[in-house]
Structures are given as C-alpha cells and as structure tokens.
Amino acid sequence: MSAVVVDGLGKAYPRASSKALTDVSFAVDRGEIFGLIGPDGAGKTTLIRILTTLLLADQGTASVLGHDVVRDFRAIRALVGYMPGRFSLYQDLSVAENLAFFATVFGTTVEANYHLVADIYSQLEPFKTRLAGKLSGGMKQKLALCCALIHAPKVLFLDEPTTGVDPVSRKDFWGMLGRLREGGITILVSTPYMDEAARCDRIALVQKGQIIALDSLAGLVESHATETYAVSGERLFPILNDLRAYAGTRYCFAFGREHHLVLKPDAGGPEAALAYLRGLGHQTASIRAIRPNVEDVFIDLIHEQGQ
C-alpha cells in the first residue's frame, strides 16, 4: 500500500496569474525517500501543505496512510511529522525546551521516544541550554528534524530542509534521512538542489505546478539520455554566447567550469560545433561527450515542455 496517494491535485491562489498546481498525481511507497525537485515557485511547498492538511486543494484528492487530507485531517495530523521550509521553532526557547514542548504537543515525552532522535540529538546535546535562535543553520535544521521526529511519525514531510545549510551539514542531514528510512519511515522531501536527487529513491521533477517526470534517478537519466557535450576553454563567457548563437544548438547552459551543450539532430555533431567555435577564434575550446546528470535531464525536460 502506498503511504501517500495524490490524484489530480490542482490549486490556484487568488490574485496569482498562474496556477500553483495543475493536475498533479503520484504515489509514494512505504519506506521510501521521495524527492520533489524543482526551482523556487514550482509548487513544492503548496503540494506539501496540501498533504499536511494545511491547505485545501481546488481539484483532486489526496490521502496520507489511507486518510483523506480533507475529511480525516485530524488523523493525519497525529500520524505525520512536518518540517516547514522556514525555521519554525521557538527562537526564545532553548534546544531542550523546544524538544520537550513539541514532544508534549504531540502527546509524548522526550524520555519515551528518545531512541528515535538519539542519533541526531546527541550532536545537539552539548548546546541543549542554548536558545534555538542562536544556533547555526545546520544545527537549527537538526533540531527541527528532532522536533518533527519525536512522536514517531509514520510519514515525514520535509519542505526544503537543506536550504541555506552549509554543504557539510547538508551531507550530514541526508545521512540522517537515510538512517530514518532504514527505520521504516516514509519521507517526502522537497529541495531545489539537483545534486540531492541522488539521495532519493525516487524523484519527481516539478516545474510550474506540474510534475514533468517521475522515476528513480537512474531511470530518469536513462530515459532522457540526450546526447550531451561538455565544452570548455578560455574565455568561457564569450564561448557561451557564441554557442547560444550557433544555428545547431538546441540549448546550452553553464555548469561550473564548463558548458553543457545539446545539439539539434541535424546539426552535424560535435565536430561541426567545435569547428564553428575555432572559426570564431576560440582556439583553446574543446568538446567531449558526457553522461547527462539530473540537471541535464531537468533542463532537457523543461525544453520539451517549452516546445
């Protein structure tokens, strides 16, 4: 049985020109980490808020652990853990006070469920008398995760838990999510970081309120194996402009110290593109075929949508 079932969800905000969600359907299996990946404003937060019973959808239905998000919202609220995108603990309460308060709100005690958070909380314990507002970004997220876990939720909803967190803490955080999944918790997590897709069992790429692809990372990369080339050379910025002006380019975008380039089928291949660059005086330019990563797939999908 699926932990979360979403069927044809649609949501529009009053005063907004475009819809926040359009006909979104998917199912999250029990015990998997399901990633909602997409840029800011794609509709990830809206979707999570509908599933955590905080917002009502305009169309479609959704259920969490078999409970309808509208009719049985109270049952869902007792079963899930939720960590909003913004740090939402009490800044003027200490680490220990926050955890104790949320434990009580969820009808349990820190002592009774300490084993659930021990792994994470042990890192916070040296600072337990510190006010939550004075913690670093990574520490805040760990505390928020503890507070969302203290009542042994069956499903965990995390809205951009790693936004604004340093890379080391991000890695740490994902390590924790992995261990939680081992414990049988279903996790639905949203993130704008493409590289975090690799840590999810399955990912849904969200763009403008729609899911444009849903698969495991490997499956996605395989099914969208567009021939992609990495172009490098001196004077990267003029190269990018020239490539975008090139008649055979489908699209080209900067990716670190290189550019990722996808050519039109009739463009004559990478050799023609290289010759074009050399002709424009980019003598040091080089081009090589690469394995597309999730970002390539995402941009490829956006291009497909655009056409």
Binding site: V80, P84, S88, F102, T104
Partner: protein, 382 residues
Amino acid sequence: MATEAPLAVARGVSGLSMFAAFVLKEAKHVLRDRRSLLILLGLPIVMMTLFGFALSNEVKNTNFVVLDRAPDASTLGLTGRISESNYFTFAGRVQSEAEINDRFRRGDARLAVVFPADFEHDLRHLGHAQIRLVADASDPNTASTVSNYAAAIVAQYQAELAEGSVGPGAIAVETRMLYNPQLKSSYMFVPGVMTLILMLLGAMMTSVSIVREKERGTMEVLLVSPMNPLILIIGKAVPYLVLCLIDVLIILLLSYGLLDLPGGANLPLLIAESLLFILTTLTLGLVISNLVQQQQTAMFVSLVGLLMPSLVFSGFMFPIENMPLPLRVISHLVPTRWFYLIASNVMIKHLGFAAVIQPTLILAGMTLVLLFIAWRTFKQRL
C-alpha cells in the same frame, strides 16, 4: 482501503499536560521578552502616575496676589483664610491693577483678590461688601476652577461672620460635590485608566502573541499536531489573564497607597468584574488574531480599532450624554463603556453588585458573542 489509527500515545498524554506545557511555554516567552514585560508591568505604573499627578486638573497651591488699599481686620482675615487653604499660596501684595496684569504676564500668579478701600466699613454698616476676584483666563478651565474655589472660601468666611452677628444672617450658598467632596480629581481617573490599560494590554498582547506564531511559522507546526486548537487558544489567554490581574492589583495598590482613594469599595466585587472585563478583552484579542496575519497589523488594529473608540465612547474623557444620538448608539457597543460604568460605580461611589448587574450582564453577553466569533473564525488550516 486500510487506514492507520492515530498513535495510541496521543491519547495517553492528557490534554491537561499539553495545556500545562503550553502555558509554561507562553510564560517563558513573556518572561524572556524584557521589553514586553516592561510594557505590561510599567504601563499601569506610568499611566497611574501621569494621570494621578502630572495630568491632574486639580488646582493646588495656586499663587494669588492681593490688592488691598486699606488693610483692616476683615481684609486681613479673608486674605489669611484664602492662603490657609490647600488650593492657594499667598504671593504678595500689589499696589495697582497694572501690577496685577504684570504678575499674571510673568506667570507667577493666577488669581488676584481686590478689596475696595472701605471693605470693612461696608461690611459692618451696610451688611454687604464687594470683593473682586481677577483670574488669569488664558487657561479658561483653570481660571474658572480657581475663581470658584476662591468664591467658596469667601462665602464660607461670610457665613461665619453672619453666625457671630445678630440680625438677618447672610444667605450662604452651599455647594456640595458629591462623591468627590474636595473636587479632588486624581483618583477620579482610576476607573478610566484601569479600563484603558486592561483593554489595551488584554487585546493587544493576546492578538500580537498569536499572530507572532503565524508570522514565525510555528503555527504551521502546531496545526500539524494532534493538539486541539482550543488548548492553543486558552493556553495563549491564561498567561495574559494573569498579567492583567497583576496590573489590576498594581493599579489598586497605587490608588490606595499613593492617590489616597477613599476606602470602602467592595474589592472582591471589583476584582471579579475586572476578571470579566479581562476575559472580554482577551476574546477581542483572539478575534483580532484570527483576522490578521501580521504582528504590526494586530498592533495597529488594537491601537486604532480598540483604543480610540474606548477612549471616546467609554465616558471617561467625554460625557456620553452630550453626544449626538448616532454616537450614543455606537457607545452601547463598546465594552469599555460598560466596564467604566461598573468600575466607577464600585470604586468611587462604593456601590454593590445590585447596582451593576445590568452592565455586568451586558459585558458577559458581549464576551460570549466574541468567544463565539473567535471560535467560528479560528482557522484549522493556513
């Protein structure tokens, strides 16, 4: 489709301990926010002191001068009588009308007592004499108060003279100020100040503290929990109820200790009525917090939307009887009007419960209606 039951532990821990945790948490917020605490406890002290001493419209120790061209026993006696009173301080003699003008302009006197040359002669032989009181009317209210006080002293003196003499006694007009015999205004402010402070703190602090949870996102987390929103609402109100009660006690302490409010009021009744009014203001705060999303809006609505009508329609600053009919009708809807009536009846007139049953019932009814509105407008979702 199979469904999963909510956690058993959620029922194991009682709503009462959730409630206790909530009140404790709220108390910590209040105690750790020094600025709010200062406002909560400092405001009654500041307002009582201001209204009681600085803003008092009572006339005390007003300087007066005397123009007496032929001093005699009667003029000296009357001058002495005026300067003996608490209201006036003798500020010397002047020799001419022009000099009076001078002293007024310099601001070191506000009243001049002018005796004619043959004052005692007239008084003894004609049985009546004239005296002129000249007041600095650049501040008309003070001028009329000052000259009334002086006239009262003169009348009293005259009455005493008449008692000692034979023949037809002079008619003394007796003016008695009910409930406030010395026309002492400082404690007259107490019920009004109390009404305003409770309205302001009760409504503003509650609404701001709930809206703060919305603004900071903690409301989202609390909503996605098995906790009944009722616990949240009552848990929010309790600490502020306690604080408002402390404010009532501070106000009473200052009134009796510092402003010499005469004893004799039914204090348990007063505190019980205050409790009712605090509940009214807290529920008003709840309604506001349900309707707005930002702390600043909550504060603005509390200040402009509540404090202004409270000030205008309570009867504390402007007499309601003098208002045009539409405003009088509106004043019935303002809770402060009813509490002000109760508080001044109990505190100043020393009336019992029987005299305030009607406003008490109105206030209780308003509270119930507001509570219902607060309940209906509470959003279970964002």
